[in-house]
Amino acid sequence: MIYEIRHLTSYAYARPVPFARCILRVLPREGDGQHVVASELSVTPRSVERHDGICFFGNHTTTLTIAKPHRELRIETRSRVEVNRAAAPFPALTRNWEEVTALAQGAQSLAPDSPAQYIYPSRLVPTVDEITAYAQESFQARRPVFEAARELMGRVRRDFTYDPEATEVSTPIREAFAQRHGVCQDFAHIMIAGLRGLGLPAAYVSGYLRTIPPAGQPRLEGADATHAWVMIWCGPETGWIGLDPTNDLIVGDDHIITATGRDYADVSPLDGVLVGPGSQKLDVKVDVIPVS
């Protein structure tokens, strides 16, 4: 499947911002079953310094310095991405989860996709005993890892309520877990915390999900959204598989990856420092259009 993606983020400031320095992670990455045919990023106002690079995890980064007073910052990407993922393995045929844990702990690689990079608490995903215990219910002794992980994903989908009002980017996962409410980012973090609590390697993925409008209705422009899900490492033969706990879906060709990391902090689309007081208003428009 080939997609055309347009993603516009704009910040409107109450007062002019004279100076900003930021890092963007907004262009889709290569790999994990997808190929970026073309992509471009435009930012207004123009930056005085711009540096494009690839971070440790393989994501595109763009560092910008804007030295011109501005009341609006617009970040727009246009990308064409071909997605062609291998089918997921038969769950019952994957290794048992204790083996996967041991293999990850003994991994002999510091590469970005080495399972050893994803088995510890990270900035936004601490070890939470209650969440580990919640995950443990699906991981009976010697159960195949993918079977158990899929069941956990289904439980998160059933037990949690999607509620954009309930949490913010800064809400700790302990709180979201206790409330059983949240958005895709919370569900992904909670599932990662549960898997890592058991010693399993789990990664965070940001990206887009193709939406299919109800039959007979046109696609609404700009109505798509950014999304987040999880990848779990199932052993050296199977490697990494995507699981989407918000929708109880195994990740196939409907998901387009922007960036991967240990949690949201590694893939946050914009981090930075800007000078000047005042509030800001954020507006996001996303279009994900399948072209073939």
């Binding site: 995890f57 041991a102 002999q108 510091l110 010693g199 000078v275």
Partner: protein, 839 residues
């Protein structure tokens, strides 16, 4: 001298020696530094014991006093974690406890320690090079990747960059086991603290026992710092590099050590906000524009060094620093990411890594450690759990509160089972370690020596000649006789460490030989933040003075109740109103004026009170403490004490006395800064702050008290507030009249209290500051200062009214903003700070 008990009554050297050693016995099962198991004193301690027993109890106490005073005066103190009070950042500052007995180590023994520490520094440095570079050790199976990835100090963005994690300094915490062998308890590779304290301990004991250093041939420390400095300079790409010490700021527990070392080594003390990355280079923001920073000796954790690529929540770092490192344009020491090898998880691999990397055995072993991320080791730990100490394998993510080892033997059954379950669930987060039994050294208590457990921190520095180890160290002593782990946070003293030599030791100082010193009158450049703080220090001090004068004027008039001159009550009311308008006192409804004046003096709830202004002045001063003299610093303490609210209500007369004596202390500070501060840019900013504040305050007084029809009594108050009463009396025989008074306090350039005088001084100070470009154009602050000066010169008292005085006041405020924009806030106005003056 009650605390010296039996020592007091001892008369002879022998008696005093016996009194000191009375009851001193090594603790069972522990090595004692002073005394062999048979009760004899180890020979290296004899000269020390002999010196102490040669002094009377009074003389000994006097010597201790000398050392303690040195510690107090230099203000090198230690901040206790958790004591930080946002309103008063200095509240948690404690005098740093010095044990008056040193730890004595023989030269022969020291050679082993020094060789072992140098070897370990070399080993850890090579390990870091491999982790952030080729990754051979992990690939070949010598080290599991998971023993690295669990550390929050494993900084992935540094992977493959030049100098990632490379060590310039290293410290090892050592302990001595019951068999007399030294063990490595922990590695400090991030930004080891303590070397400055060690130096301070040395200087303090040097005051108390100057002769002992010679008779015992104690190795000097200065040469080590010289090597360290040489090592840093050698890393830079320019011949005369600008070296910055990057501090987390005054709330950090070892801030005062950092300020002290910066001063001692001649480095620029900077915070993250002082540095800026542009075009791949790192610069210091100074009043003369951006100046290149060549080497950054960081005392902040690596993760906090760059909010763009590392911890986005950090306010301590420099945005873009990692990119500057990637472009190889700045040297950061220790290299970012160096903290990863501090993990306890790595300790179990050290013997094998030494063989693998260096082809050597470890000279100093580390304490036996089993990382539970491996099945075999986990089994061992679980089998022998009760006899072990269990600790986090890695520094806790985002805080070190849970970082202390647990002695399993001390836990109850339920806690043991929880620990066992946690290790079974996620073994990789835990290590098991042999329980350490530390050696003991003497501390003086109730006039006799007692053995207390201690650890020793030893410092090493990378230099062009290899790793150099400081002959001495930072010794920490527990206050509990059976403590098995020592931290600075719980009742701990520190001690100087004396390494004795068989031969006399040549003194070395950091001062270069006299014929090599190039004469300089102005040193370096003033960072914008320092200028900012000096400016505000000046303003707060002047504000304090203004409030004190108001309070004194109110109280003086209240006390003088006989005064029935016309306008007496009116004057008091106006003065009190001014206190309220100023934010110094709560609004007057239903409040007695005397109580308003008292709260303007002591109250901390009102931001404009004298006590609150002094608190702000001291907070501001503490950030630039390396630029203030000890005497100046002490005056802040005096002022704060004077303005501390008394327990019981004070009379008007007593409050008057307080205001009066606080004004005297302030005058002392003015005297000090006038007489003792070098007339560099720093002094100018202090002066600019004072002059601006005084100008504005005087305008406000004048608006309040001088308009046509004002009773003479009010004009008198104005003369009091501006300290111009005597001048006026000497010029005019009559009572206060409006125009002469206005001329004297506003326009008279010969009156050091007048607005005109402040304006002329402001213009002179600003003219002497550096400019950004050499195009001959006036910069905004100078333009405004000149305009103000012209307005003052050409104004006439007969035409002054509220509106024209307000205009002066507004011009002064405008000048203040222009000074801030130009010299302090270059961040917010990058267009204003052109890059034409890159150095």
């Amino acid at each position: 001298m009650a605390q010296h008990g039996r020592l007091n009554s001892a008369r002879t050297r022998g008696e005093r020696r016996n009194a000191l050693l009375a009851g001193y016995r090594p603790l069972p099962g522990a090595y004692d530094e002073l005394m062999a198991p048979d009760g004899t004193v180890r020979p290296q301690w004899e000269p020390f014991l002999s010196e102490w027993s040669g002094l009377s109890a009074d003389e000994l106490q006097r010597r201790f006093g000398l050392a303690d005073r040195h510690v107090r005066d230099t203000g090198v103190s230690y901040r206790v974690h958790g004591d930080v009070d946002a309103n008063d950042p200095l509240a948690g500052e404690r005098a740093w406890p010095l044990n008056h007995a040193p730890l004595v180590i023989t030269g022969a023994e020291w050679q082993v320690i020094a060789a072992g520490v140098a070897q370990r520094a070399q080993l850890l440095n090579a390990l870091l090079g491999d982790i952030y570079g080729p990754g051979r050790l992990v690939r070949e199976g010598a080290l599991p990747a998971a023993a690295i990835t669990g550390s929050p100090d494993y900084l992935r963005p540094l992977q493959g960059t030049n100098g990632a994690g490379q060590l310039q300094t290293y410290a090892a915490d050592l302990g001595r086991g019951p068999d007399g062998r030294w063990w490595i308890l922990g590695d400090k590779t991030q930004a080891p603290s303590g070397a400055g304290y060690a130096l301070e301990n040395r200087l303090a004991l040097g005051r108390a026992f100057p002769d002992l250093f010679r008779t015992m041939n104690v190795e000097r420390l200065a040469a080590f710092f010289q090597s360290f400095r040489t090592g840093l300079v050698a890393r830079a790409k320019r011949v005369e590099p600008r070296i910055c010490l990057l501090t987390p700021g005054q709330l950090n527990e070892s801030y005062f050590e950092q300020a002290y070392l910066a001063r001692y080594l001649g480095f620029l003390l900077v915070e993250g906000g002082d540095l800026v990355m542009r075009d791949g280079l790192v610069h210091v923001r100074t009043i003369a524009g951006f100046k290149r920073a060549d080497v950054i000796w960081r005392r902040i954790d690596g993760d906090f060094a760059d909010p763009l690529e590392l911890n986005a929540a950090s306010a301590l770092g420099v945005p873009g620093l990692v990119e500057a490192i990637r472009q190889d344009n700045v040297v950061v020491a220790n290299g970012l990411g160096s903290g990863v090898v501090e993990s306890r998880a790595l300790m179990s691999f050290m013997p094998a890594l030494a063989r693998n990397i260096l082809g050597e055995e470890l000279i100093l072993p580390n304490i036996a450690t089993w990382w539970c991320g491996q099945p075999h080791e986990r089994r061992i730990v679980l089998d022998r759990l009760d006899e072990m100490s269990i600790a986090p394998a890695f520094r806790a993510n985002g805080g070190s509160l849970d970082d202390q080892p647990l002695l399993v033997a001390d836990l109850d059954g339920a806690a043991r089972e929880r620990l066992r379950a946690a290790i079974e669930q996620r073994g990789l987060d835990h290590v098991g370690q042999e329980v350490v039994r530390l050696s003991t050294m003497p501390v003086l208590h109730d006039g006799r020596l007692e053995p207390r457990p201690m650890t020793l921190r030893v410092f090493a520095a990378a230099t062009p000649e290899g790793w150099q180890v400081m002959p001495g160290g930072f010794c920490r002593i527990s206050d509990e006789a059976d403590a098995r782990a020592v931290t600075m946070r719980s009742g701990v003293r520190s001690s100087d460490v004396w390494v004795t030599s068989d031969r006399p030791v040549e003194p070395v100082t950091l001062l270069p030989s006299p014929d090599k010193i190039a004469i300089r009158r102005i040193v370096g450049i003033l960072p914008s933040r320092a200028a900012d703080n000096l400016f505000w220090l000046g303003r707060y001090l002047e504000r304090t003075e203004a409030t004190l004068r108001l309070v004194r004027a109110v109280l003086g008039r209240l006390i003088n109740a006989d005064d029935q001159a016309p306008g007496h009550a009116e004057t008091i009311k106006r003065l009190a109103n001014l206190l309220v308008a100023w934010g110094a006192a709560p609004s007057g409804r239903g409040k007695a004026i005397a109580s308003q004046a008292t709260s303007a003096l002591f109250g901390l709830d009102e931001y404009g009170s004298a006590a609150a202004s002094v608190r702000e002045a001291r907070r501001t001063a503490s950030v630039i403490r390396e630029r203030l003299s000890v005497d100046a610093w002490r005056l802040f303490g005096d002022l704060q004490r004077q303005l501390t609210a008394p327990r019981k209500p004070v009379s008007e007369g007593e409050a008057f006395e307080v205001a009066d004596s606080a004004l005297k202390s302030l005058a002392a500070f003015s005297g000090l800064s006038q007489e003792n501060m070098v007339r560099g840019a720093g002094w100018r900013f202090l002066d600019i702050g004072r002059r601006l504040e005084r100008g504005v305050t005087t305008c406000r007084y004048a608006r309040h008290f001088a308009e046509s029809g004002t009773p003479g009594n009010c004009l008198d108050a104005l003369l009091d507030l501006t300290d111009s009463q005597i001048t006026y009396r000497s010029r005019y025989q009559l009572g206060a009249a409006l125009q002469p008074v206005l001329d004297l306090v506003m326009l008279d350039p010969y009156n050091p209290r007048s607005v005109a005088f402040q304006v002329e001084r402001l213009d002179q100070e600003i003219a002497a500051l550096p400019t950004l470009s050499d195009d001959g154009m006036l910069e905004e602050p100078r333009r405004l200062a000149l305009r103000l000066a012209a307005e003052c010169r050409t104004a006439e008292a007969s035409r002054l009214d509220r509106a024209s005085i307000l205009l002066f006041e507004q011009l002064l405020m405008g000048l203040s903003n222009a000074v801030a924009d130009r010299y302090f806030l270059q961040n917010a106005h990058p267009e204003g700070s052109r890059m034409t003056q890159l150095a």
